[in-house]
Symmetry: C2
Subunit: 446 residues, 2 copies
């Protein structure tokens, strides 16, 4: 079967997933968790083969590729966590009486087919598969070739569990080759949303080579502005945490901007705190003069170091700071440290990024820290979902209307009947649609 046919086979399962009961989906999630546990010896053997085939790996790469008992336990805990979340489908988002006996509801429904392309980490496969299953979406996956044995074994475990259920073995497909990725990115009418996970270059490649919507972010160039009224303790604590708590992540700090009137007092202590954590500092001439660091190159202000290096810039006004951020941010997360409510307001209002903070570390930009229950990804797109994205990023909406014979002609022309357009509360399940009940079992020959 060629790649497009394999994707079509997945597409043909969308109605079965969308029409399934949340209990069925949760049961399948728990069955998968159990099967991963019992099938662990084979998964570990496959993982061993991948590790051996990869030759000399850096410790970081080895850590990403490894699927050991610790990773298994985390994967199983994450599946159970997802199973315990409320059903994201069938939520009533709007309910309106258009007219007597003409009821409109807008409800959440799965998007359809998600395409996931990811590098190395086999645990990403488990995570995205459980999020898609929970939300009633089908899934086409392409993992990194280094992890191909591990991915195949995990995938086999999932379809073995799915085979005799509502989902069948066709709701999920694992593709293997580089050419498969090209085919996925072109499958506009078969895949509704692409989620890439991997390096900056990898995500950027995906974004630039598909007209399918992409949920994700290529870069995370985050800034922090320390205003002239900043509390120095807060400034140093937040900047140090933002830079050093996990320097390789997308919500780590790269550009620090300091008001010139506080710089002479603040920067020496801040530089000391950073240097104690091993951070290399570069700055504009004024900053370099104060702390004696190297001067930053023009490229530095646009560089996501993803490591222990920080660019520091001085400015003479909050407006200059906001303009500097507008020029260099990747619109992921930017923060201000200030005690002045007017400056706080101006910054939070004017900085156009997915997350904008006052007086805390940029490291809070994360689905779990936001209490979303699960993280599908962090989006720097403004369309569909922005910032840390939970299960709602895998949902779209559908308008449903139930009437008793109403026609449009009645509401037009002379003597037209008027709509009521009364908004009703959105509590409780749909009053029109009873999804996921045995009532749906109308015999095929009906």
């Amino acid at each position: 079967m060629d790649t497009i046919d394999r994707i079509k086979k997945v597409r043909s399962c969308t109605a079965a997933l969308a029409g399934s009961d949340i209990k069925e989906r949760n049961n399948l999630l728990l069955a998968i968790a159990e099967a991963l546990q019992s099938n662990f010896p084979e998964i570990a053997r496959a993982n061993q083969a991948d590790l051996e085939a990869s030759g000399n790996l850096s410790p970081a790469m080895r850590h990403r590729l490894e699927f050991n008992r610790e990773k298994l336990d985390a994967a199983i805990a994450s599946i159970k966590n997802v199973a315990a979340l409320p059903d994201p489908a069938g939520k009533v988002l709007m309910r309106e009486e258009l007219d007597k006996d003409l009821l409109l509801e807008k409800i959440s429904v799965p998007i359809g087919v998600i395409g996931m392309v990811f590098e190395a980490r086999p645990d990403a496969l488990v995570q995205i598969a459980s999020l898609c299953l929970k939300s009633g979406n089908c899934l086409v996956l392409k993992g990194g070739s280094e992890a191909s044995n591990t991915n195949r074994e995990i995938f086999r475990t999932i379809i073995d569990c799915s085979r005799s259920t509502f989902a069948s073995e066709n709701w999920i497909e694992l593709l293997n080759t580089r050419d498969d990725v090209a085919q996925m990115l072109k499958a506009k009418n078969l895949i509704d949303l692409i989620i890439p996970r991997g390096s900056y270059d990898f995500v950027r490649y995906v974004m630039q080579n598909t007209s399918i919507p992409v949920l994700g972010h290529a870069d995370g160039l985050c800034s922090m502005y320390i205003d002239k009224t900043a509390n120095p303790d807060i400034a140093i604590a937040c900047a140090t945490d933002a830079k050093t708590n996990s320097p390789g992540t997308c919500n780590a700090l790269e550009n620090l901007i300091v008001h010139s009137s506080i710089a002479p007092f603040l920067l020496p202590d801040l530089a000391k705190a950073m240097e104690e954590k091993g951070v290399e500092l570069v700055g504009d001439p004024r900053c370099a003069e104060i702390i004696g660091c190297k001067e930053a190159t023009p490229q530095d202000w646009d560089t996501e170091y993803l490591g222990l290096k920080l660019s520091i810039r001085t400015v003479d006004s909050i407006q200059e700071a906001i303009a500097f951020i507008a020029q260099h941010t990747s619109h992921h997360t930017d923060a201000i440290i200030t005690q002045d409510p007017q400056a706080e307001n101006l910054f939070l209002g004017m900085v156009d990024s997915a997350s904008v903070y006052c007086n805390c570390s940029t490291r809070f930009a994360d689905g779990f820290r936001y209490g979303l229950g699960a993280e599908v990804g962090i989006s720097t797109s403004k369309i569909h979902a922005r910032g840390p994205v939970g299960l709602e990023g895998l949902m779209t909406t559908k308008y449903i209307v139930r009437g008793n014979g109403q026609i449009a002609g009645t509401y037009m022309g002379p003597g037209a009947r008027k709509f009521i357009h009364r908004m009703l509360d959105t509590n409780g399940p749909s009053r029109i649609l009873t999804l996921h009940t045995p009532q749906l079992d109308i015999p095929e020959n009906n």
Copy 2:
């Protein structure tokens, strides 16, 4: 100035629009309404020039191109209606206590720059400009060349009003040439969302030639399924209205599907009602045998007639009807006529379209009929907005967090502090951000 520089000039206004007060935006809307009124003689003269330059137009084309007093009154009424709507920006969509003194809010904010490409109708320019201004978005327009004089005069009226306001004359730009459209469709980092308005081929061209998200729909191939338990009066009234109330619109009926057990009793009366309205009928062999119509060709089931022609298909089960719809629908609007709650449920649950109806005409799929206040467009995309789209289709979201020095390190590792993650009600304005107040006036040299 070349096209890209003109688009950049618009982009540079996004902060001014996003940071503006809703009162300022409403005042500018009302000023534009007044100026269109007082400038009408010049607009009418420009429109006359367009009409003369266009030579022999069909009555329909002439009606679209004409900007007469009636169109002016409608345009002014629509601006006033938009001005009276609530502010779509700054709505609190989520509010959560992450921890003590660490408050998260998700608020609605304008998307940024909207790109609108449209054919003929100059009133579309007024409509989209007022929707963008209301929502705090900047706008790049490209209208049809037939209406270039009228568009230019309306555009001049709008920028004359805007010049001495917060928005300046740069928030909106009118482009003119075919090459400008190509440049717009490539301006991925300058334009956030494209809205095309025009013929099927035109919208399709736009969708296929840009990687910028597009809000709209190319085709509206709507279906209605008459179940075996349908009330015949409701079936005939709804089908006739759906086909004939306004056959040239996207929510008109094209494929009628009838259960075989009701077809012999229903189809003769239905055919009579349709033929009285001048509808040409084609059908599958069973249908042709019952009512003596021509047989449909395979292409007919995929044709949006946009006129007085209807394809009729018989099926032996609701499942067959749903499968047929899945194969041929454009996912715009599909309806079932039934008295059976199980069939209703199955249809509403399984048909994957933006609007799905029971016992009413497909013609209700419209922003005004849904009570959205204004219609930005009807989307058949599943991403961002689906179905009739009101002002919320021009909004994105932003997460804002205010703390008092919290760092991520506190919530990690041994002895980690736990998040509270308590959802708060979303009533009232932001508790963090006071947008649109004189407080924002921090002097530039601050």
